[in-house]
């Protein structure tokens, strides 16, 4: 039964607001536990402990945040781009088999099929529509590359801080980009993101969560790929 309570900003944006709040809590928790870990290592080495403010502005904290962010946005880049062309029969995460590709202008509401309330660049045509047609992947890719770059820059500093603590030579950015620390951090994050997409695509074939847009209807057959049809 559809509710008829008046809508509000908070209800209409609850998903993003709740996730934004959870993000801040998780970042705060990461900062606290990261500070405790950093200072524990400093005490072990007989070196100076740092304040919370100093830690959250350090390369150590920055690389720990950036390595996770880059993999999340890579996940979205791959997921959004590959689901244009690849399907998973029965999954709510996939298009119908046979619908692979960019789809028609009519289905995509562009060109002569654009609506009066379509986004401006969808109605504009030409290069603007072409760019807007890929804007989601483009922005995700830019954020991925920016955060991966941040991981590289901050990671090198954090790694060199530890190297010099243990009487080793620091290394340049080129050497760091082929170092175990950089690729270890990168690939440990990539594997978990790819696991998440893969399992979601398969689990969504056979499992249900009533009311979630990420799930088919509870009674939808496994073989049905898109429950909205």
């Amino acid at each position: 039964m559809t509710e008829h309570r008046p809508r509000s900003f908070w209800r209409d944006n609850a998903l993003s607001l709740v996730f934004g709040g959870l993000l801040l809590c998780a970042l705060g928790g990461q900062a606290v536990w990261g500070l405790l870990g950093y200072n524990e290592a400093a005490r072990t080495a007989g070196l100076q402990e740092v304040s919370f403010g100093r830690y959250v502005t350090s390369s150590g904290f920055a690389v720990d945040v950036a390595e996770n962010w880059q993999s999340e946005f890579l996940q979205f880049v791959l997921y959004i781009a590959l689901t244009v062309w690849l399907v998973q029969r029965g999954s709510s995460e996939s298009k119908e088999p046979g619908d692979e590709g960019r789809e028609s202008d009519e289905k995509q509401l562009i060109g002569s099929f654009a609506r009066p309330d379509s986004p401006a660049w969808a109605r504009a045509g030409g290069w603007r529509t072409r760019v807007y047609s890929h804007s989601l992947v483009l922005v995700m890719a830019v954020v991925f590359l920016a955060s991966w770059s941040a991981q590289a820059v901050a990671g090198r500093v954090a790694d060199n801080e530890e190297r010099m603590r243990y009487l080793l030579d620091p290394i340049g950015l080129g050497a760091y980009l082929v170092s175990p620390d950089f690729w270890g951090r990168t690939l440990q994050n990539w594997q978990s993101e790819l696991l998440a997409i893969g399992t979601m695509a398969v689990f969504a074939i056979y499992l249900r969560e009533r009311g979630s847009p990420e799930s088919k209807e509870v009674g939808a057959p496994h073989a049905v790929t898109q429950s909205s049809d």
Partner: protein, 143 residues
């Protein structure tokens, strides 16, 4: 309508880019200051080792100083006995976070940042292996 919106978006983007550029410039300036300060402390330590060992001991990290004194000998005397090499001309300074390395023609010194400034954690250091994973062997160090 789009033309009216574009300048606001471009203005916001410009501010963000400029802010990022300023932040990067400031962080570079901060790194230069840290390199200068670490180099100054290392230079002072190298000079004090022969001229004023007591002052050199004041520039040591606490645990490094404790290592020198572990046999009950005063730091200044123990430091003199280590016969550290005359470092020669400074070749370079590297700083990352709270760690630093100052390289000289005949010596390498490692430092760490404390609340009261940079302090020497190891001196009289030389490479004993081409393997970058093998630490320097240092005459003066903690432990």
């Amino acid at each position: 309508m789009m033309g009216q919106r574009l300048p606001a978006r471009m203005g916001t983007a410009s501010v963000l880019v400029m802010g990022l550029a300023v932040a990067l410039w400031l962080s570079g300036c901060g790194a230069d200051v840290e390199r200068q300060q670490a180099g100054t402390v290392a230079d002072a330590f190298a000079a004090d080792v022969s001229e004023d060992p007591q002052a050199a001991c004041a520039l040591l990290a606490p645990r490094t100083k404790q290592s020198l004194e572990k046999d009950g000998e005063p730091c200044a005397r123990a430091l003199t006995k280590e016969d550290l090499p005359t470092p020669g001309k400074r070749a370079g300074v590297s700083v990352a976070g709270h760690s630093a390395q100052v390289r000289y023609a005949e010596d390498t010194v490692f430092l760490s940042l404390f609340d009261d400034g940079w302090r020497v954690t190891a001196a009289g250091c030389a490479r004993t292996s081409p393997d970058q994973a093998v630490p320097y062997d240092c005459s003066v160090q903690a432990g």
